[in-house]
């Protein structure tokens, strides 16, 4: 039944895609609004300008950009209504809402914000508008029930059209292959082998400067939780919630977590881990430029980039991705993944006088043409078609002023608005070392992270906020003391569990379980 529905809706959408989209409001003949307009997706008879609560992209090309092209198709113009130099956007929105002086369209950065202000009636609910005016976006939601579920607030309303990210991997393991080669070692396949490599890096002077200054593993220079999550994934341990098909468990209370903490603390004591891991700023720059760091776990794209950056000063540097070492059960795991995110998006404010037209305009970026524009920019300027393959121009690939993604942003592509990202648009310009790593992780099925998006009711959300603050404080304090060997894991782990229970961790687990049950339904 469901399947037939899906097929029908897909067929319908397909027809709509190729034909001129009618549906709501203006069904008039195509007429020219401005020179060069196509108006194959006309939204309004007269040219309509909507203000947009968002600042212009950096080095924005005012003359030729995605939004001007979209105007030619839709007859709707976007006017950026936000000073470029303002950095605190949450605050700016709060002030705009409180003074009831809002732009027509609002871009925001978290689902919570949309839900909060939506329930306060500052944003209009989009459910009916989507059914009526946005066939393409509706089709996407029909095909992606998980997205629809996630963007729907607990009052049943959808308040925003999300910016959907694409891609599978987030972080991966990187190692100095040139050091391994020099020491005659293989890439470590298990945690035990990883420890041997660390030992060799520490003791056998792989950088050959005669000094014992090598640091086998360095962190990512971020918060305690984030830094440790990078390394404990190979133990099948996590600092967050684990969803095991039916039940929910809290990572730090699992046996694996205890093992991971013991090992990491041991490595720290032996000097295998950057002694200043918790206060190091820009660790990759520090350890790679000084030729003293051996291994890390971090984002593929940026980490691979350091090879080129330091090739002249660190001769022979070969910092490449390696498979995650297998834990005791023999499974190679990578627990970080890239999700669809769905936090950001655009919404229609209560001050907007043209909600239907706005929704139709939103829908344009969910058509094939609109989506290509959003991802790849402008044909002839940023990309060319070679058969049915897209190829970036030199404006993107060899732009002296910008890295590829920033070049795309100068024409408005890949900037902040609601569209579905296409991983291929990134794969086409990404560094080869990174791409090899990403493909290795995907092809070998290392990615074991959970891609589930839970939603909570207002009451649950409130309790979660309070409980989370307390429990995170307790967890972070404990793990840092263990890693720094201020306390022994074996001595204080039981007390730690006891503390968690006193802080009512069970309540937090129950909330998570309830949300998970709803999700599984």
């Amino acid at each position: 039944m469901k399947k037939t529905e899906k097929i029908i809706s897909m067929l319908m959408a397909g027809v709509m895609c190729t034909a001129v989209i009618g549906g709501c409001g203006s069904k008039d003949e195509v007429e020219t609004g401005s020179s060069g307009s196509i108006l194959d997706y006309k939204v309004s008879d007269k040219p309509l300008t909507l203000t947009y609560f968002q600042s212009k992209p950096t080095d924005y090309d005012e003359a030729d950009n995605v939004f001007n092209r979209a105007f030619e198709h839709t007859n709707v113009k976007i006017e950026f209504d936000f000073a470029e130099s303002v950095t605190d956007k949450d605050q700016a929105l709060a002030l705009a809402v409180s003074s009831k002086d809002m732009s027509d369209i609002i871009y925001q950065f978290s689902r919570d914000t949309f839900v909060k202000y939506g329930k306060q009636k500052a944003f209009i609910p989009l459910n009916d508008l989507i059914d009526k005016c946005a066939p393409n976006f509706k089709k996407y939601l029909d095909e992606h029930e998980d997205v629809r579920k996630y963007i729907t607030a607990s009052d049943g309303n959808i308040y925003y059209v999300p910016n959907v990210l694409d891609g599978k991997t987030a972080s991966g393991w990187f190692i100095r292959q040139d050091w391994l080669d020099k020491l005659g070692m293989e890439q470590p396949k298990t945690i035990a082998e990883l420890e041997e490599v660390f030992k060799a890096f520490k003791e056998k002077d792989p950088n050959g400067n005669g000094k014992n200054d090598e640091v086998p593993y360095f962190g990512n220079g971020s918060s305690v939780t984030y830094t440790l999550n990078e390394i404990i994934g190979i133990f099948d341990a996590s600092l967050g919630f684990r969803h095991n098909g039916q039940t929910v468990s809290f990572g730090p209370m699992e046996e694996n977590f205890k093992t991971a903490m013991k090992t990491v603390a041991d490595w720290y004591a032996k000097g295998y881990i950057d002694p200043e891991i918790f206060t190091r700023k820009s660790p990759r720059e520090h350890f790679l430029s000084n030729n003293i760091g051996g291994c890390t776990h971090n984002w593929f794209g940026s980490t691979a980039g350091y090879n080129k950056m330091y090739e002249s000063t660190v001769p022979g540097i070969k910092f490449i991705a390696m498979a995650p070492p297998a834990s005791a059960d023999g499974v190679q795991r990578e627990l970080t993944i890239r999700t669809k995110n769905l936090q950001e998006g655009w919404a229609i404010s209560a001050s907007n006088k043209h909600p239907e037209e706005t929704m139709k305009y939103f829908d344009f970026f969910w058509t094939e043409e609109g989506r290509r524009m959003a991802n790849y920019g402008i044909e002839g300027k940023t990309y060319n078609m070679n058969g049915d393959k897209i190829e970036y121009t030199d404006y993107i690939l060899n732009n002296p002023d910008h890295v590829p993604v920033d070049s795309l942003r100068t024409v408005g592509a890949q900037t902040n608005f609601g569209y579905e990202q296409d991983w291929n648009s990134e794969a086409l310009y990404i560094n080869k070392i990174a791409l090899d790593g990403i493909n290795m992780y995907i092809d070998n099925g290392y990615l074991k992270g959970e891609d589930i998006m839970l939603t909570y009711s207002e009451e649950e959300e409130k309790q979660r906020t309070t409980l989370n603050a307390q429990i995170t404080t307790c967890v972070e304090e404990a793990i840092q003391k263990w890693v720094l060997n201020n306390e022994k894991v074996d001595d204080s782990y039981d007390k730690f569990i006891n503390d968690l229970q006193n802080l009512d961790v069970q309540k937090l687990i129950d909330i998570e379980q309830a949300a998970y049950d709803r999700y599984l339904q």
Binding site: T58, A83, E84, S85, V86, T87, D88, Q91, A92, A94, L95, S98, S99, D101, A170, S171, S222, K281, S282, E285, H286, S289, N290, N298, W299, F300, G301, S302, A304, G305, K308, M309, T313, V403, P404, V405, E426, I430, N431, A434
Partner: protein
């Protein structure tokens, strides 16, 4: 005047301790300046100490690349000068009457001021107040909206109270009004306190960015600090988003950019400071009374 041995020792120790503290204050700043002028690699490797290594203006180039920065500089100077003057004016209007023991309602007005030191309405009510007064997106809003600073009224009042009573009595006999007394007698005698508070106001205005960011809707009205803040936030956020930053070799690092923006924003204040210093002269009050 002869200086005794004990005094000599006192001056020596005193001078030595001051030099020590001054060096302590100076070293980090010299480091910041040198680092902002060095090559990114030297900074990263920790090779920069007190002198720049591998001289490089990349970070400054990035700061001044933005054509808006000169307008922002001009805006800052404008807001600082007029904001400081407005604030001094209002502060005097309160501090002078409050320093008079015979001013009726003095006690209540004092409490009226002191309450504002610890109680404030918070950001949203303050912003809505600007909306109601029609001062959003106006330069006047930024200049006049922040003239109330209870602390400085109290300090100024204390300064005025310290001036000898006889000064006023003579003028009163001549039938002068308080506006005349204030401008002819108090003003010239209070240069040091005006310099002090003026400096504090000016520094506050110069460094302030939060409310200009909130009140102004146009980039053409923004002061320097808002622009610099954006530069710093953008770089740090950009590098935090992982995969988005790729493959570029910058000739400056994020830290260097922060250092450079700091230097750019503090130099004008440092240049002005010595000129204000000469007003901290000793014995001006006494001289006037005697004369």
């Amino acid at each position: 005047m002869k200086i005794s041995k004990g005094e000599k020792a006192f001056y020596c120790v005193n001078g030595f301790l001051l030099i020590l503290f001054a060096l302590l204050c100076l070293c980090p700043l010299v480091y910041v300046a040198s680092a902002s002028l060095s090559s990114a690699e030297a900074v990263m490797k920790g090779e920069v100490f007190l002198l720049p290594k591998g001289f490089n203006l990349g970070a400054y180039k990035k700061v001044f690349e933005d054509s808006k920065i000169w307008i922002a500089y001009a805006n800052t100077v404008y807001y600082t000068i007029f904001g400081t003057l407005a604030q001094l004016f209002i502060t005097c209007c309160g501090a002078y009457p409050l320093s008079k023991p015979y001013f009726k309602g003095r006690k209540w007005l004092n409490i009226f001021v002191v309450i504002t030191i610890w109680f404030s309405g918070g950001m949203i009510p303050t912003y809505l107040n600007f909306v109601e007064l029609g001062l959003v997106n106006t330069r006047a809003g930024l200049i006049w909206g922040f003239v109330c600073q209870g602390t400085s009224v109290v300090i100024m009042r204390t300064f005025f109270e310290g001036l000898p009573m006889e000064l006023e009595e003579a003028a009163v006999v001549d039938g002068a009004t308080h506006v005349q007394i204030f401008s002819k007698i108090y003003l010239p005698l209070s240069v040091a306190s005006f310099a002090t508070l003026g400096l504090m106001f000016a520094v506050g205005r110069w460094n302030g960015y939060l409310w200009s960011m909130i009140l102004f809707k146009e980039d053409s009205k923004m002061p320097l600090q808002v622009l610099l803040k954006k530069l710093v936030v953008d770089t740090t956020v950009g590098s935090a988003s992982g995969d988005k930053m790729t493959d570029t070799i910058k000739d400056y690092s994020d830290d260097m950019l922060i250092y450079a923006t700091m230097i750019v924003s503090m130099i004008p204040m440092l240049v002005c400071y010595p000129f204000l210093q000469k007003y901290f002269k000793k014995g001006m009050v006494i001289g006037a009374v005697k004369g």
